[in-house]
Amino acid sequence: MSEQVEELIRKEYAAGFSTDIISETLPPGLNEDVIRFISGKKNEPDWLLEWRLKAYHAWLEMTEPEWAHVKYDDIDFQKVSFYSAPKSMDDKPKSLAEVDPELLRTYEKLGIPLHEQAALAGVAMDVVFDSVSVVTTFREKLLEVGVIFCSISEAVHKYPELVKKYIGSVVPQKDNYYAALNCAVFSDGSFVYIPKGVRCPMELSTYFRINEQNTGQFERTLIIADEGSHVSYLEGCTAPMRDENQLHAAVVELIALDNAEIKYSTVQNWYPGNEEGKGGIYNFVTKRGVCHTNAKISWTQVETGSAVTWKYPSCILRGDNSVGEFYSVALTNNYQQADTGTKMIHIGKNTRSTIISKGISAGKSSNAYRGLVRMNPGADGARNYTQCDSLLIGDKCGAHTFPYIESRNPSAVIEHEATTSKVSDDQLFLCQQRGLDAEKAVSMIVNGFCREVFKELPMEFAVEAGKLLEVSLEGSVG
């Protein structure tokens, strides 16, 4: 059984090719000039440059967080390039017809056709290649109902009031080391605004691709769901196989105003490094949403990529009766390390949160759930339910659970459960006895283990996520 599995595990990272394209890339290094360059490149207003510089100076005073259960060599920020854009983007293409065909081919190869007629039905997509947004599909159609979906660079010019009001309002500049860095150097990302009472007619999606060598990606996403609106947003990520570690430090801010609902799904498949642990993306991401009265934010993530993941999509349940959800599958193999989870901060009355986390560790990887549930004194009648399950495949990996539970309200109820187990011989035997091979059996068992989370994903992604898991697991049963 182990042989087959090992073979499987050696299967190549399918998104690992790189695109040969002429890019304008800043030389490595970080200083004020780099920030001025990025800001200048985007023709940004003064307030935003000031905002970036303020963050940069704060960042210089900060230190990298050390509490996460991950180990990696110190990052030399002077060796990272903070800006890279395809040359052809100098004059931003007005339509798909103007987009560099090489870029389009890249996305076709990744299984993401960008031509609107060929695109996934009902999914509008913003495509971010290294530091810039390449194209956003279906924008006109969305604008008909008042939904704004564009790159954040564009939003800064077209919708400055909204950007100014909300950027940094959920994740303050000094929230953490990587968030501060992102504030200083973010290059692009997606911007979404759903007007009052509008139910966004299609799924919105952003596809992130790191291509250039030695380049970091620092994107920033801002989603504002005005009162009574509804949106479902998906993101996907891939990168070529390269021997160096590359840095991805994103910030995502969600604002769900009264009675609004945001569903945010991620399938993260950054290059995880090779089987010896060489290369791969450092994925240090800050994602947080704030819920006003009766609002709901639901995070679903399938994390299979990256060499190191450090990520805690969180909800601040400020308004009464607001709801936060976190559904996560994190799979680590080979030398991957993940420290991921969520924070649910209950401030309003009768706020509710649900956390379902499934961690799968294989190879020599390390996979940790880290979560915080906090009931503030005013959170009367608040409830949380947390279920964290870990599955170990092989005896050289680690699975860890670090839940922080803090309550200051006697009427708030918190329930946390965690279990750890392995794929049992009995389960395997049963499947095999019924004629399944070991790999299939394991992937079936793992898929079953993750079902509660997969069912939260939009349909097309759920299928994709299942397959991804299968590929990522290949060869892990020893």
Partner: protein, 435 residues
């Protein structure tokens, strides 16, 4: 070095102790000098502030006869045991029993006993991880050795009482216990910390090191009943060898600072740990329990249950870590922590942790906060009991579930009425039901 560290060293230098303990003490004093003083950013002290401790001006215990006023206020557990009483850290021979050959104070150890002490003392505890254990060793003036030879079963429990009373100054009380159970030995140990209603702002640092040999069994109780001003930092460090069994029960009322660590190492295959704890801080008190169970070898079992009721403006902290090392296959480990807050100023911070490096294990933990079963409340009400009383009844029931499992009847009899009173329950009835 902080002022407190400096002060502590001054005291360490003044402590008298047998010469043969000097190397351990000076080594500990050196370590203490280099200890990094914890802050809120230190994970193991995230929720517990040592500010009150730092403000305390320590002074050495006056070894002259302790006053005896405490006797009217402190009731011993009514148990047929070998009793050792300490008042503010000073041994009180008048209230203690004659020692059996299994027990000796370090200062009176013969050469064979010294050998045992030297072999184990400071070895069970991992010093660098526990700064107050380091301090305990630096301050070590005396201690107690309990040694049970191979195949011997003690016919009486050993009962160690530490009384804190009102003195003239703030006292620093250092207690050290070393318990060594050789192969197939059996014993029962009760540690009882108690204070009089008025007591000094004393600092108690009580450390037990316990080795349970192959097939040996220890029943252990640690009752931390001092209240209000006492600052208590306690620890129980245990090594379990092959097929060893440790059955522990601990209970803590709150005080100004109360931090108790259980550090259990499964070092021999087939070892079994069963640990239960209850914490009941009230007023402005706090209690902090940290347990850290390390599975180093395969086939060991851990079962841990902690429950707390946090009232008034009190604060409780629970941290329960289970660590499964790489080769510790076939581990079964379970931890449950349940909490009730009974006031809107009370606070609980709990963190059950699992760190697992072996795949063929079954581990689980659960934590809950504030949850009385609605169906049960309804059932009680449907029999005419008011909502309020039903809640009190069930709150007491919530900890009574653990009290009922106390194996030593004397400890049970001692605790039940005292805790029932805390909850305003009818103790006669409970006792009758209990008989």
């Amino acid at each position: 070095m902080t002022d407190f560290q400096q002060q502590a060293l001054t005291i360490a230098a003044q402590q008298q102790s047998p010469a043969w303990l000097a190397p351990l003490r000076s080594q500990a004093a050196n370590e203490w000098r280099n200890v990094i003083w914890p802050t809120r950013k230190t994970e193991h002290w995230k929720y517990t502030s040592l500010a009150s401790l730092q403000k305390t001006l320590l002074s050495l215990v006056n070894t002259s006869a302790a006053n005896t006023d405490w006797k009217s206020e402190v009731e011993f557990i009514d148990v047929n045991a070998i009793r050792l009483v300490f008042v503010n850290g000073v041994f009180d021979a008048a209230n203690s029993s004659n020692f059996s050959e299994n027990i000796v104070r370090f200062s009176q150890a013969n050469s064979a006993q010294q050998k045992i002490i030297e072999q184990y003392l400071g070895k069970v505890v991992e010093g660098s991880q526990h700064l107050f254990a380091t301090l305990n060793s630096a301050w070590l003036d005396d201690g107690i050795l309990v040694h049970v030879p191979r195949n011997q079963t003690l016919d009486q429990p050993i009962y160690v009482v530490q009384v804190s009373t009102l003195g003239e100054q703030t006292l620093s009380v250092n207690q050290r216990l070393l318990v060594v159970l050789e192969d197939s030995a059996q014993a029962e140990l009760i540690e009882h910390f108690v204070s009089t209603s008025e007591q000094q702002n004393s600092v108690v640092n009580a450390l037990a090191e316990i080795v349970v040999g192959d097939n040996a069994q220890l029943q252990h109780y640690r009752l931390n009943l001092e209240e209000e001003n006492i600052q208590h930092i306690g620890a129980v460090h245990v090594n379990l060898l092959r097929n060893a069994r440790f059955r522990g029960f601990t209970l803590a009322l709150g005080s100004k600072l109360k931090r108790i660590d259980y550090q259990i190492n499964h070092r021999g295959q087939g070892a079994e740990l069963n640990l239960q704890g209850v914490y009941l801080p009230r007023n402005n008190q706090m209690v902090d329990y940290h347990s850290n169970v390390q599975h180093w070898v395969p086939h060991c079992t851990t079962s841990e249950v902690f429950r707390g009721i946090i009232a008034d403006s009190a604060q409780a902290i629970f941290n329960g870590r289970i660590y499964i090392h790489k080769d510790a296959q076939k581990t079964l480990a379970e931890l449950s922590n349940k909490n009730l807050l009974t006031s809107n100023k009370a606070e609980i911070n709990t963190k059950p942790e699992l760190e697992i490096y072996a795949d063929d294990v079954k581990c689980a933990h659960g934590a809950t906060v504030s949850q009385l079963n609605d169906t049960a409340l309804y059932y009680l009400q449907s029999r005419g009991v008011s909502r309020n009383e039903a809640e009190v009844m069930m709150s007491f029931g919530f900890i009574n579930e653990l009290l009922q499992q106390i194996a030593e009847p004397a400890v049970h009899h001692y605790l039940l009425p005292r805790l029932a009173k805390l909850f305003g329950r009818d103790q006669t009835l409970l006792e009758m039901a209990d008989e």
